[in-house]
């Protein structure tokens, strides 16, 4: 059948994403990508400062200690953690692995991601702090 001419189509409100809790959480997760991009820029500023000499590095440290920058980075940390947790949470549904003819349980895929996260974080921390 074809759609009747007088069928009613609900308009989608501009703020559709704010009207359900699950949509709001979804939007927060999506917005986390902006903080990912910001931190990439921050890292590049840091590397550039290091490459430009000890004074530049000290200037960068002062910049990073500015209360506004700290506040931004605290928010960034929260959003990047949100990104990581939701990312790892959705991985088991996409990554279906079969070992020896049996399907690897989703919990194992999830645990593998968190293990990798721990290992990578430990390596980076050691590289930076040693």
């Amino acid at each position: 059948m074809t759609t009747p001419v007088r069928a009613y189509r609900h308009p989608i409100p501009r703020t559709w994403w704010a009207r359900r809790r699950s949509y709001r959480l979804f939007m927060l997760r999506e917005i986390s990508c902006v903080f990912v991009a910001w931190f990439v820029v921050y890292v590049l500023l840091l590397v550039h400062a290091i490459g430009s000499g000890s004074d530049s590095y000290d200037q960068f440290l002062d910049f990073s200690a500015n209360p506004l920058v700290v506040a931004l980075n605290v928010v960034t940390l929260i959003f990047i953690l949100l990104h990581a947790v939701t990312w790892f949470g959705s991985a088991p549904r996409a990554i279906v692995v079969h070992l020896r003819g049996r399907r690897v349980p989703e919990s194992a895929v999830l645990a593998g991601h968190y293990a990798a996260w721990l290992v990578v974080s430990a390596i980076v921390a050691w590289l930076v702090l040693s």
């Binding site: 059948m1 009747p4 009613y8 609900h10 949509y23 979804f26 959705s90 549904r93 279906v96």
Partner: protein, 247 residues
């Protein structure tokens, strides 16, 4: 126990109105009454012109999808007692054109479903005399969840991408395509690819995940789509790197 509840039902009579209005009806309720029972009471006793789809009243036919207090639910699987003291707002499923009252136009999905070729595709069929295709429980497990779809369309009703872009193939269609892609008896994944891996197919999905939340049969269409994205993307890369070798 309270024995009556008010149901605010969306009415749309195109010959009279230009947009839906809510009409309140007071109906009796028992512990067992579903929204569907309330609607049938209204139609039988209060207003015979109320239009809505229903059939099995036990959550298997997929006919009675509607929006109840803003959530996509089956009318037969949603119980009035859970909404006391009321009122319960009953509206048609979102994201579909409303024909009348709670009846929506599903022709878009009906057109999309055959494009994913939801049937077993094989190079050659076994002759009937040779018996059945055999399948282990593990092989059936691979696609069983996706075969539970009752085409109720609640996933489309829940999906904001479909709301914004009706060209999106949609959760149920992709999950049904996967149901066959993952079936060991099927050899047709390549035939479904043009549709499933089109920009309006799996790639338009942003994993909101509402489809899986709304599904009354545990199909997990979001999972089906995510899995398909990985499969199709790795396939595309293989074809790019080895144009002849990959099938």
């Amino acid at each position: 126990m309270v024995d009556r509840i008010v149901m605010e039902v969306s009415r749309y009579r195109p010959e009279v109105e230009t947009e839906p209005v809510l009409e309140a009806f007071e109906v009796p309720l028992t512990r067992e009454w579903a929204v569907l029972d309330g609607l049938n009471y209204i139609k039988d006793q209060l207003d015979g012109t109320l239009s809505f789809r229903w059939s099995c009243r036990m959550g298997i036919c997929g006919s009675c999808g509607m929006t109840i207090n803003g959530d996509p639910k089956l009318g037969c699987a949603t119980f009035l007692v859970d909404y006391l003291p009321g009122p319960v707002r009953v509206e048609p499923m979102r994201n579909f054109p409303v024909i009348r009252d709670l009846v929506v136009d599903l022709s878009d999905f009906m057109a999309k479903l055959p494009t994913v070729k939801p049937w077993i595709i094989r190079e050659d069929e076994l002759p009937v005399g040779d018996g059945e295709y055999l399948q282990t429980p593990a092989e059936m497990d691979e696609y069983q969840k996706f075969s539970m779809c009752i085409n109720c369309m609640l996933c489309y009703s829940a999906c904001p991408v479909y709301a914004l872009d009706p060209g999106f193939l949609g959760p149920a269609a992709i999950a049904l395509g996967q149901r066959y892609n993952l079936d060991s008896r099927d050899e047709g994944a390549a035939d479904r690819r043009d549709v499933l891996a089109a920009p309006e197919g799996a790639w338009a999905c942003t994993l909101v995940g509402e489809c899986t939340t709304a599904c009354p049969k545990g199909v997990d269409p979001a999972g089906a789509i995510q899995r398909y994205k990985l499969t199709a993307a790795t396939q595309s890369v293989k074809e790019l790197l080895f144009p002849r070798g990959a099938r």
